[in-house]
Structure formats: C-alpha cells, structure tokens
Amino acid sequence: MRTLPSAILVAIFAFSQLACLGQGPSDVAHARSSRPLLINGAGASFPFPLYSKWFSEYRQVDPSVRINYQSIGSGGGIRQFLAGTTDFGATDAPMTDEEMQQASGSVLHVPTALGAVVLTYNLPDLAAAEEGAEPGALRLTGPLIAQIFMGEVQSWNDSRLAELNPHLRLPDRPIITVHRSDGSGTTAVFTDYLAQVSSEWRERVGFGKAVRFPRGLGGKGNEGVTGLVRQSPGSIGYVEFNYALMNRMAVAGVMTNEDTTVHPSVESITRAADSFVSQIPADFRMSIVNPRDPEAYPIAAFTYFILNGSMEQEKGSKLMAFVDWAMGPGQESASQLGYAPLPPTLVERVLSSARSIELL
C-alpha cells in the first residue's frame, strides 16, 4: 500500500518523459523520414514581415529545408541563441561584447537588411500656408525631435516648429508624444540617433531598448503606438518605416542641414549604410544613425542574423545557402516591404563572412 503513491508518481514521470520525446529535437524527426530539415530561429520582431516572406519564398527555392522563425524580440532571440535552443538568432541591436563572451564559440553577425524609424503624426487641422494648397509633410530636425520628446517644445505652433515649416500653418494644439512602452530595437535606434544629435538627450534620457521617457504616452508594439497616434489629435510618435508604409501613415521628413529635407525611402535608407561603408568593421556591429551624407535618412539601422562560427555540416550548409539567397533575390523582396537592401559592396563582405562558418 505504501508504494502506491510512488508508483503513481513514477507513472506520471514516465508519461511526461514520453510526452517530451514526442516533441523532441528537429533532428530526430528529420532522421526518421525524408521530411524537410527544420532550422529554428527566433528573435527580432522588427524584420519579422520580411523574414516570414523570405522563409516562405525560400521553401520554393529549396524544398528540402524549412526555416522556422519566431518573432519573440531581440533580447529573447539573443538569450535563446546563447542557451543553444535555436539554430540562429536575430536582433536589431548587435550583441554586446559581454553577451558575445557568454557564447560557447565564436558568434557571427550577418546584416540582412536595413530598417528605419520614422516619425508619424496626427494633425487633423493641419493646413498649407497657401490658401487651397495641399499641406506637405512636416519637417523636423534631430535636435527638435529631441526637444519635442523631452517636453521642451509643447505646442504645435511653437516658433521653432514654425521656422522649419513655412509651408504649413500649424495649429495651436498641445503636442502629445507617443513612444514604445515595450523594450524594442525601434526605440534603441531612435534614442541612439537622438543621443547623437542632442547632448541634453544623452544626459537626461540616454539610449537603449527601453528608456525612461520624460513625458508622453506609451504604446505596446508598433500597433500600440499607431493606435494611440491615430486616436489622439496632436500626437507624434515613432514607428518602423515598413509599418508606416503599409498603414499609409503621415510621415515627417528630417532636415539634415539648412536646405535638405530627407524623407524616408528605400533609397535614402540604403544611402545611410553606403555613407558608412568604409568604416563598417569586420563583424558588422555598427550604428549607422546620423550619417555625414545629407541625402541619407539619418534614423536607420542594420538588422542582423546571429550565427554560430561553427555549425553542424548539414544545417550549416543549408543556412549558408539561405544567406546566399537572401543576399541576392532576397534583397529585392526587402525593398517591396519597406526594408532597404544592403549596399552592393557590403553584400560581398557579408557573403564572404557567412562562408567563413566552419562546418563540422
């Protein structure tokens, strides 16, 4: 009688082990039949629309491999990658030196595309300065964006805004700023830019995936920010370029000097990477905000795959083949979705870096 509870415990334990086996590692499932090789990745949500398109297109290119991607966020992607539960990770902000030391082997950053952060606003009573004309896009400068998000410019008819926008008649409305409340690569790129153009921002707020915004509303995810901007007249927020593009949102231009206003576009974002091309280090970990080229959109960033420096033969070669494809035909589908393709000179370097993966 005494042994009965323990017998039940043993049975429960055995059953749970069986259940674990059922969903065991992909390699086991693969060995059993000619089912496609599963490669698992997880990470950034910023490039998720692009990656899901890539992986579904790639099934036609090579039916023998299937790539699973879960957009759990860059931080989670790096943690899973370091824990070895995924075959590759994806992140917007490159891994820090500290994180790279935690990896068991060498870690490769592979830039896959370029993304940008754009400012979107909701001003229902915005009018053109000229009677009857269509109001054009709002113009801002980097330091002014910082002042707006720090609460130093509080009204839409502030003289600092009016000066930059002689083509608009700005309403007398309080400015409501909207930021990402969740940790995100988008915030990291945005605050990285503001910290570079405004020393006050750097001291008061800092930069990173989640900073303490001095004022405004926080929305969770691009959709949260968009929702808040849409329903709050007088608001301004920042979202990913592809998201603003797909949702046809009003997007501000950024003035890079007295007479150049850059609007985010596939070309102007690629130019941002282009103007840094000679300085990009061998591991590609570099911020490309605030470039010297005045025609380049200044709030842009790479998004990366993170790969192990040495991989098992089969998975490694399949993944390398995928990177080859992504750097070729894949770059074209990137621009359709509002991600900018990498500059051609950089593509060469990325390919040779990916080919350096050691196959075991």
Binding site: M1, L4, P5, I8, L9, I72, G73, S74, G75, G76, I78, T96, E99, P174, I176, S181, D182, G183, S184, V205, G206, F207, G208, K209, A210, V211, R212, F213, R215, G216, L217, G218, G219, K220, G224, G227, L228, Q231, S232
Partner: protein
C-alpha cells in the same frame, strides 16, 4: 492510513484506495506547484532584491539606462486602477445581481443574466482594443472635459484630457470584473432562505426594506468574497490594461495621467530586457504582485472570518 477528512474503513477496496491517493496527490501537487513557482520567482528576483534591498519597494524610479529599478510606481498603478475598478463595479454588480434575483421576471432574468456572464468570456485583448479605439476617445471627448470642468479643483481630475491613462484602465477593469462580482453575488443572494424574506414582508417591510434587512444584511460576507474575487482579477489583468493605461511609470495624483501597473510593466519589458539586473528587477515586480495579491486576499479572508464570528 487515516486522514482528518476521510476515514478509510477496515475493508477498503484497492480501487477506492487508488482513487483516494490519486486525488490526494493531485491536491498536494497543486500546493507544491504553487510553492515551486514562488520559489523560482523569488530565486530569480534575488539579484535585484539583494542589490536594491527593501528600498526596491519604495523607490519610484525605473530606468534601464541607468540600471536603477524600483517597484513603487507599479504598486501605486496597480492599487489605484483596481480601486477605481472596485468603486465603479461593486455598486453596479450588486444592483445587477439584486435586480436579476429579486425583481426581474424570470423571462427577463435568464437572458439578462446570460449576457452579464458573457462579459466574462470576452478575451482581454478584445477589451483592450475596444478600450483603445472606443472607450479612450469617448472618455477624452465626453467624460474627462466635464470632470475637469466641474471637479477640476480636486487633484484627481486635472491635466489635459488624453483618453488613455489611469482612469481608462480603471473603467476597463470595472467592466471586466462586473460579471465575476455579479454572478457570485447572485449565488449568495439565492442562498438566503426564502423564509427570511417572507418574514420581513410579513412584518410589514417594504420591498426595499426587505432587500436591505433580509437579503443584503445576510449576504455581507458572501459579497465581500465576491468583491475579493473580482479584485483578484483586476490586480493581475495585463493585456487590456497595457493597451489603455499610457504605459509611463509615474506617480501622479491626476487620474487623467498615464501610469503603469505591475502586470503591464512585465508585459511591456520582459521580452526585451537584456541586462540580468533588469530581468531580475522585472521578476521582483512579479514577486511583489504575488505578495500584494496574497496580502489583499488574506485581509479579505480575515474580514469574512471576523464577520462570521460576530454573527
């Protein structure tokens, strides 16, 4: 081979015994699961708790750039939004329960009761979206301006109306906990013996006096229990609150301002927290939420216990 609640006789069948141990094991399993969860959460929180000390619970700053973390703003946000929810939901729920049980004809009570309980089945993300796109603009245009105009002398209703904020979160929570409080209160009222009602009416009480003296008075401890269950849902609600609270941690008297609750900071930052101190601080907030819920539940149990003893 004996237990206080179930005495096994001498000639026990093996199947009975198996069944007994199975149920006992499951019951104890739940307790162990809870303890294991608390243990793991506490272990993961330890880095932050030992780094900041007890000051963690009284520190209003939350800044991952400077690695300075404190839970006070989130405790404040959780308590204030839940309090708003209770203030709005309790009278409505009790009125609904009284009407359905005591006043409404049964052809109306059944479908109406069904719809009230349907509210509990709506997923919280749907509440959140509705809150963001319908409730918040409504509050901004039609509720906050008059509140600010007539009650603006109170610090609670100052500042520009923005729709989203602590008030919107409280209202959403109120709607979400009404079905819980209402349906449990209905059960409580139903359990009041009919003889009590008849006696009250027979002594010449009006309908309202009968409800007050016979039904409500006899149900107080049950009502407290219903309110506590509702409060439990309000304290831990995550998704709907995250979408309408404005998500900026601060302690501000005004209910028009944005805030952040313990559950919503977890939903917001857990996925992308990089540094181990940040992660640990988030887990510590989760631990705090657990402690606060436990404390409030124990307090309510104690109130019920006291009232039952007085009666």
């Amino acid at each position: 081979m004996s237990s206080s609640s179930y005495e096994l006789g001498r000639d026990v069948r093996p199947s009975d015994l198996t069944f007994y141990y199975l149920l006992k094991g499951l019951a104890w399993g739940l307790v162990l699961l809870l303890l294991a969860m608390v243990g793991v959460i506490f272990a993961l929180s330890w880095e932050a708790l030992s780094h900041f000390g007890p000051g963690f619970f009284f520190d209003p700053s939350w800044d991952s750039w400077r690695e300075q973390f404190g839970a006070l703003t989130f405790i404040y946000g959780t308590l204030v939004t839940s309090l708003i929810a209770l203030i709005l939901a309790v009278p409505v729920s009790l009125a609904v329960a009284l009407f359905l049980n005591e006043l409404a004809p049964s052809w109306l009570a059944r479908p109406l009761g069904f719809f009230v309980e349907m509210l509990a089945a709506i997923p919280s993300i749907v509440y959140g979206l509705w809150g963001l796109f319908v409730l918040a603009p409504f509050l901004r245009d039609h509720v906050q301006p008059p509140l600010g105009q007539y009650l603006g002398f109170l610090p609670l209703f100052q500042g520009p109306p923005m729709g989203v904020g602590m008030l919107a979160a409280g209202v959403i929570l109120a709607i979400m906990i009404i079905p819980t409080i209402a349906s449990i209160s209905r059960e409580v009222f139903r359990s009041v013996p009919a003889t009590l009602r008849e006696a009250a009416l027979g002594l010449g009480a009006t309908r309202w006096e009968m409800l007050r003296l016979a039904v409500l008075k006899a149900s107080v401890s049950g009502i407290v229990g219903a309110v506590v269950l509702g409060l439990g849902r309000a304290l831990g609600e995550t998704m709907a609150v995250t979408m309408v609270i404005g998500n900026r941690p601060q302690i501000d008297w005004s209910l028009f301002e944005s805030g952040q609750t313990m559950a919503s900071i977890l939903a917001n930052q857990y996925a992308e927290a990089d540094s181990s101190l940040h992660l640990s601080a988030l887990t510590a907030v989760g631990f705090t939420l657990f402690v606060v819920s436990l404390a409030i539940n124990s307090l309510a149990r104690w109130i019920i216990w006291r009232m039952q003893r007085v009666n």
